[in-house]
């Protein structure tokens, strides 16, 4: 007996074009359509949202399903969650399944928090006895004790979200199918939910997780399945697959090199390789936010006697220039370079870049006369991820954290036990409480 708890074999799902978009057709359209098409549906009107998808998931694995919009991830998840049926193929799932495609499924605004916990819990697949048993834990988890008998239409959106999350977090399935939901919503609380999910996976439970954000997948999953146009394009360790996905998106990888013949540059200098690497020297697509990232710029000087300053430009996914760094190595700053092979390495410290993908552009310039000898965009790309261990700049916050950089900065606190104007004034004057 194999230990696969999810086995998907040749699953395919075909939609008639327009069928999916039809939000409650009108009979008129159908009748008109029947006349127009003479009642026949040609195969040209069909698209395969998912096609020939096969994979297995072992017990306890946390697998991410990634891909672009329309790659079929959500459709595949809906098939496995039994929300829709496949057109061909079959799948086998061993164990109690819960699907979490939305936060707050089944919530009704008119009902109280208490009533909604029972309703939503039942819809997500808990028995009444199970909900009763977990009720206090759910309410405590959501931190809404005081409002539990208030209709949730009077809740703030944050409270409603917390209660919904709390119900979902207390599901105890053997297989959990999750869509995106965890990458939205309120903060410190989200961390709690991720923690709860980790507990779930440590308990030997299996999770299939769909996401559009490669950062979330890197955080949670050990293995990834990349879908493209409805098919499995790659299936393997998360870093590898996400790397491939990013390459696919930006047409670059974490390492590029050129033969001399087609190397970018001029008669003086040619770029031979650019790569992103860890401290130990291994080239990588993905970097822990806490660790330094090294960028190697390898170039050949073909004609000696020039001052050359390699410079590296970093861009975000949205093509925002994060910063530029120019080689300031004192040894070569004012020294004309003789012919030979050079490898200039610049180190980005840990806890500096924000999560997400970073695209690298490299130029080599003679600064004296601003002679740009070579300048190549979109050379390599890599991913920065936060494993949420609590010692990054995020601290205990697990939600969306905007910003192009994410330095880990030093905070200090001045505290005074008594609050009255006189003491405030005194302390300000005496500087007594301000400690470095």
């Amino acid at each position: 007996m194999s230990d696969a708890v999810i086995r998907v074999e040749g699953i395919g799902k075909r939609y008639q074009i327009g069928e999916r978009a039809q939000q409650g057709a009108l009979l008129r359209d159908v009748i008109a359509g029947a006349f127009r098409r003479n009642g026949k549906r040609s195969s040209r009107d069909a698209i395969w949202a998912v096609r020939d998808v096969s994979f297995e998931v072992k017990q306890g694995e946390v697998v991410g399903l990634i891909g672009r919009n329309g790659a079929g991830k959500s459709t595949l998840l809906k098939i496995l969650a039994r929300i829709t049926r496949p057109t061909v193929g079959h799948a086998e799932l061993h164990g109690r399944i819960a699907s979490l495609l939305e936060v707050g499924t089944g919530f009704h605004a008119e009902l109280t928090g208490r009533e909604n916990v029972f309703l939503s819990g039942a819809i997500l697949g808990m028995s009444k006895a199970e909900i009763t048993r977990k009720f206090d834990a759910i309410v405590a988890f959501a931190e809404v004790e005081r409002f539990i008998d208030t209709p949730i239409k009077h809740y703030s959106s944050g409270m409603g979200m917390r209660l919904a999350f709390a119900v979902a977090a207390h599901l105890e399935p053997e297989i959990l199918l999750v869509d995106e939901v965890l990458s939205v919503g309120d903060a410190r609380f989200q961390k709690k939910c991720l923690g709860k999910m980790e507990e779930v996976s440590r308990g030997g439970r299996t999770i299939l997780f769909v996401s559009h954000s490669s950062a979330a997948v890197t955080r949670l999953c050990s293995r990834c399945v990349l879908l493209n146009a409805g098919r499995v394009e790659q299936d393997g360790p998360a870093y590898e697959v996400i790397g491939a996905y990013l390459r696919d998106l930006t047409v670059t990888s974490a390492s590029r090199h050129w033969d001399l013949a087609d190397a970018p540059g001029d008669s003086v200098v040619r770029l031979r390789a650019v790569r992103a690497r860890k401290v130990d020297g291994t080239v990588s697509d993905a970097f822990d936010i806490r660790h330094p990232i090294g960028i190697d710029v390898v170039f050949d000087v073909l004609q000696g006697g020039h001052l050359l300053a390699p410079n590296v430009h970093f861009f975000s996914e949205q093509d925002v220039n994060l910063f530029i760094t120019i080689d300031s190595d004192p040894e070569w700053r004012y020294t004309p370079r003789p012919v030979g092979r050079y490898t200039s390495t610049v180190w980005i410290p840990g806890n500096f870049l924000a999560e997400g993908s970073v695209v690298v552009r490299v130029a080599i310039t003679t600064l004296a006369n601003m002679n740009i000898r070579l300048d190549k965009s979109d050379l390599i790309a890599f991913q920065v991820f936060d494993s949420l261990d609590g010692d990054s700049a995020r601290g205990d916050y697990a939600g969306h954290l905007p910003g192009l950089v994410r330095p880990l900065l030093k905070w200090s606190t001045a505290y005074e036990p008594e609050r009255n104007d006189a003491s405030l004034l005194n302390s300000a004057v005496s500087d007594e409480y301000v400690q470095p």
Partner: protein, 284 residues
């Protein structure tokens, strides 16, 4: 404890097979039974929501048929002088209105069930049958409340139910089955074609006039009764009056036709509903 749980479950894990839709009959009553608690919660939600923020709450379940009874008694009974088969006017109309209103409300509720719950349907699996079933079951609660008025009426008019009362649950069951059968058809069609929601109010109105709610079956010529019985609600309402009051004749061959039609509508409704069920999340 959680470890013990896991091993325990692993000993005999439930296996789920996902396949393309197969054949025309996949209705899984065993699974439906496993989801009985969910049906209970849907019923509970329907009732809670129905009377939230109303001043007199569930009293509406009595007021609606009672007020209609008074209007019918005035216009059809006193002014139009329609025959009431020897029954007191109020009892005649109330005993017709009670099953009719149950049927009409349940049918409308079941029709809307899929569309109203599309938010849930597109996000989580459960047997979709649970929705129309809970709609017709939640109607029973209103029915039971409305039934409370029958007792004082019967006492006031000195009507004592006889052994025919034993058949009362059978007629009620027939009404439930008919509401569910027609509701399956209409809710599935409503999911695909929103025209249905405009058709249903008319349908319910016409259907009432085709049923012995405001008049007695006796005005239908005897040789056409079996055709009349093609409308199962005719048999149900006649049977209601008879079983409740013990007056008049028990429904004859008409009720057999009604039962057959109800079964046919119910079974075809199941088939049609289940055909829709496999794709409803894509189209609703």
């Amino acid at each position: 404890m959680s470890a013990a749980n896991t091993t325990n479950v692993l000993a005999e894990p439930p296996v789920l097979r996902i396949t393309p839709p197969q054949g025309w009959w996949e209705v899984d009553f065993h699974e439906l039974w496993q989801f009985r608690e969910l049906i209970y919660f849907f019923v509970w939600r329907d009732i809670k929501v129905r009377y939230k923020q109303t001043a007199i709450g569930a009293a509406w379940a009595i007021l609606q048929p009672a007020l209609t009874m008074i209007v019918f008694s005035l216009f059809f009974g006193k002014l139009a002088k329609m025959p009431t088969e020897g029954l007191p006017i109020l009892i005649f109309y109330y005993s017709g209105l009670l099953p009719w209103m149950y049927f009409a409300n349940s049918l409308s509720g079941a029709t809307a069930a899929i569309v109203q719950n599309q938010g849930v349907i597109t996000k989580v699996y459960f047997p979709r049958l649970a929705l129309p079933i809970s709609a017709v079951v939640s109607g029973l609660v209103d029915f039971a409340i409305g039934f409370l008025l029958v007792v004082p009426l019967m006492i006031y008019y000195h009507i004592r139910p006889g052994v025919s009362l034993l058949l009362f649950p059978a007629f009620l069951f027939l009404a439930v089955l008919m509401a569910l059968g027609a509701g399956l058809w209409l809710s599935a069609m409503n999911a695909l074609y929103r025209d249905v929601r405009y058709i249903v109010p008319f349908l319910v109105q016409f259907w009432m006039f085709a049923s012995p709610v405001a008049y007695a079956t006796s005005i239908v010529p005897a040789k056409y009764r079996w055709i009349y019985g093609l409308n199962p609600m005719a048999g149900v309402i006649e049977g209601f009056r008879w079983s409740l009051t013990g007056r008049g004749d028990p429904p004859g061959p008409m009720i057999i036709v009604s039962v057959l039609v109800t079964l046919a509508v119910f079974v075809t409704g199941l088939i049609y509903f289940q055909k829709m069920e496999s794709t409803v999340a894509d189209v609703v």
